[in-house]
Subunit: 424 residues, 2 copies
Amino acid sequence: MNTPTSVAHSLDRATCTALDAADALAPFRDRFVLPAGVVYLDGNSLGALPGHTAAHVQRVITEEWGTGLIRSWNDAGWFAKPVALGDRIAPLIGAAPGEVVLGDSTSASLFQAAVAAVRMRPGRRVVVSERGSFPTDLYMLEAVQELLGGDEPLERRLIHDEGPSLEDVLGDDVAVVVLTHVDYRTGRMRDLAEVTRQVQASGALMLWDLCHSAGAVPVDLNGAGADLAIGCTYKYLNGGPGAPSFIWVAERHQSAAKPALTGWHGHARPFDFEFGYAPADGITRFRVGTPQLLSMAALEASLEIWEEVDLEAVREKSLRLTELFISLVDARLAPWGVEVVTPRQSALRGSQVALRVEDGFAVMQALIERGVIGDFRAPDLMRFGFAPLYVSHADVWDAVAALEEILSTEVWREPRFARRGAVT
Amino acid sequence: MNTPTSVAHSLDRATCTALDAADALAPFRDRFVLPAGVVYLDGNSLGALPGHTAAHVQRVITEEWGTGLIRSWNDAGWFAKPVALGDRIAPLIGAAPGEVVLGDSTSASLFQAAVAAVRMRPGRRVVVSERGSFPTDLYMLEAVQELLGGDEPLERRLIHDEGPSLEDVLGDDVAVVVLTHVDYRTGRMRDLAEVTRQVQASGALMLWDLCHSAGAVPVDLNGAGADLAIGCTYKYLNGGPGAPSFIWVAERHQSAAKPALTGWHGHARPFDFEFGYAPADGITRFRVGTPQLLSMAALEASLEIWEEVDLEAVREKSLRLTELFISLVDARLAPWGVEVVTPRQSALRGSQVALRVEDGFAVMQALIERGVIGDFRAPDLMRFGFAPLYVSHADVWDAVAALEEILSTEVWREPRFARRGAVT
């Protein structure tokens, strides 16, 4: 699986196209619509559009909404959709049917799950997370602290690569540990089973953020015996911009788990219009209000593809792509001080690679202008995602070649590439 | 404007079609797609599909997502969309630009707004609402009570038509009053300005639920000097199933208002990926996570229609339709004990009418089978919404005629109309 630098030096583009010709996942590329001339290495931020999504959403709009009208809440299964689609996500993350439900944004779902976890460990008043988490996770934990504060404040302890470690902060006062499986910037992947074991040994619950894992690497939540998880469907799962998040709660916890946001779609009898809140059985209680059906319809379309995918094959190709990228970067971009930030050990790497590059923002803008789309994460990382269903070995070659040209010609110094405004 | 029963007796269908021929809003019906043979009187639950929505969403999917990919967050204005569309809703509710933002579900938005309001009145520990509110509002206030409890529990006081009244429960301990402008079951409309004045005189903040008002009746939040509001876009505003809710916060409160759910899209500098939460200026701070863009795109399409609509003309036609309906029900359905629950005084009525009918569930199912679509709200109300952009006077005639036939033939007693399962 390793592609040492010496091998990379002898690689050429023809070798990459030969690898593509032998790639069992290559046919999936035809299931997606990608603009001509684009090498898309940002599927870790917004997944590519499946070819049949537009027609499916069209049908939901014209037939289910336009003709079915209000009747579609029953007749087209709209009401059941968040759990029905959750059941289709379940096998991708090692979950069982009835354990996964769609939510609003991942921020909102993290809040739902974290509050439930804290309440399941009364007396324990510490929430552990990580300083390098995607910021919204930490912002939402601030909200949890403020809202569940009261008599006895909730303390937040953050681990960091330079310390403190998880071992340092665990103790009998920790209610829940909230960690990201694959780091959004570096792509570093944690050992899900081992961390879960360590956390549970302290008596705390383990809440995983799978935003950069679902559809990128095999995940086995039940195999690891984890407690709760949330994740994203608009990255590797190709659900479309802002597609709904998901929440997983292990079946054994569901009757004790009390969600924070007690909306009517999580009620035991929503259409009895009862006066007081009573949680539904099972994962349904984690629903809040009326779900955004059209966004959900696009996700429904993309999940059809995922039902045909072997995640072990995805992982195998993902490692081939990221190793190829790292090797080519090492071999060709060293003169410009480009540093690979992502772990080189494959067990520690998700499906993305981050490079530290001086003036990385401008370099990325120049690269995008050349048709190679990655993204930039402040303060200094260029980030490249490798979605194995539609990224080829030749794409990897072309991306590094374009980077080499941009660095060697210094075209990125042109003023039009300078930073301005918001960039996702 | 009144159509006394004596007039209704002399009405015939030709009179109704003549009223349609003279109706200035009648041309708007062509902007919507409605199935042949259907009289749609449930636009208060799910608005009809605008004719151009499917093509607009199609374009967003294929061009903005498929071709633009991640670049569309900037290039297609995705990131700015929740506030940009809020600005287009603003004139429909008497709000100013920069005062309205799209949220997730109305349940989530009510939570956001209610927590902010309670925090703006420290020391006041009572939340007032109404027993007849749409249940999710009360469920979410239960969540607010539980989460903002702590040292000093938050008390919930509920008013009711049979007492206590608003006057009875107001006092210097009330932080916020949460009331629905137009009642979801009866269609009873409150005097927004007068109630706001009464509430504010006690020192409390006024939070309005506009779910059954926006697009149905003229609303003037700033004219009334109200404090906060939330509302729905999938009913009269035709945004599509589960379209995003909106939150309004009066400009004077925005710098003091602290949202409950502090997600990264509400951060002052979301793309600096800062470690700690810092609220954005203005209404943006009420955003939470990544918004569901495709559902938002459908709303964007329907708002194009609303830009051409004169809400005073909508109100005038709405009252004509509901009065016609009430008069015909009085004149023709009295033999079966059908009772009009909605206020007969036009100033107290929104754009919907509820009938109390024995076995109303089965009667509604028989009516729907006949192509007249209303809905049923437990325990005993048949509910009919009159969306003036696409409901005609002839529709009203046909609906009452169908009801009369169903009641007189007792077809509703057939077993297939008996209650089973969830009904929205």
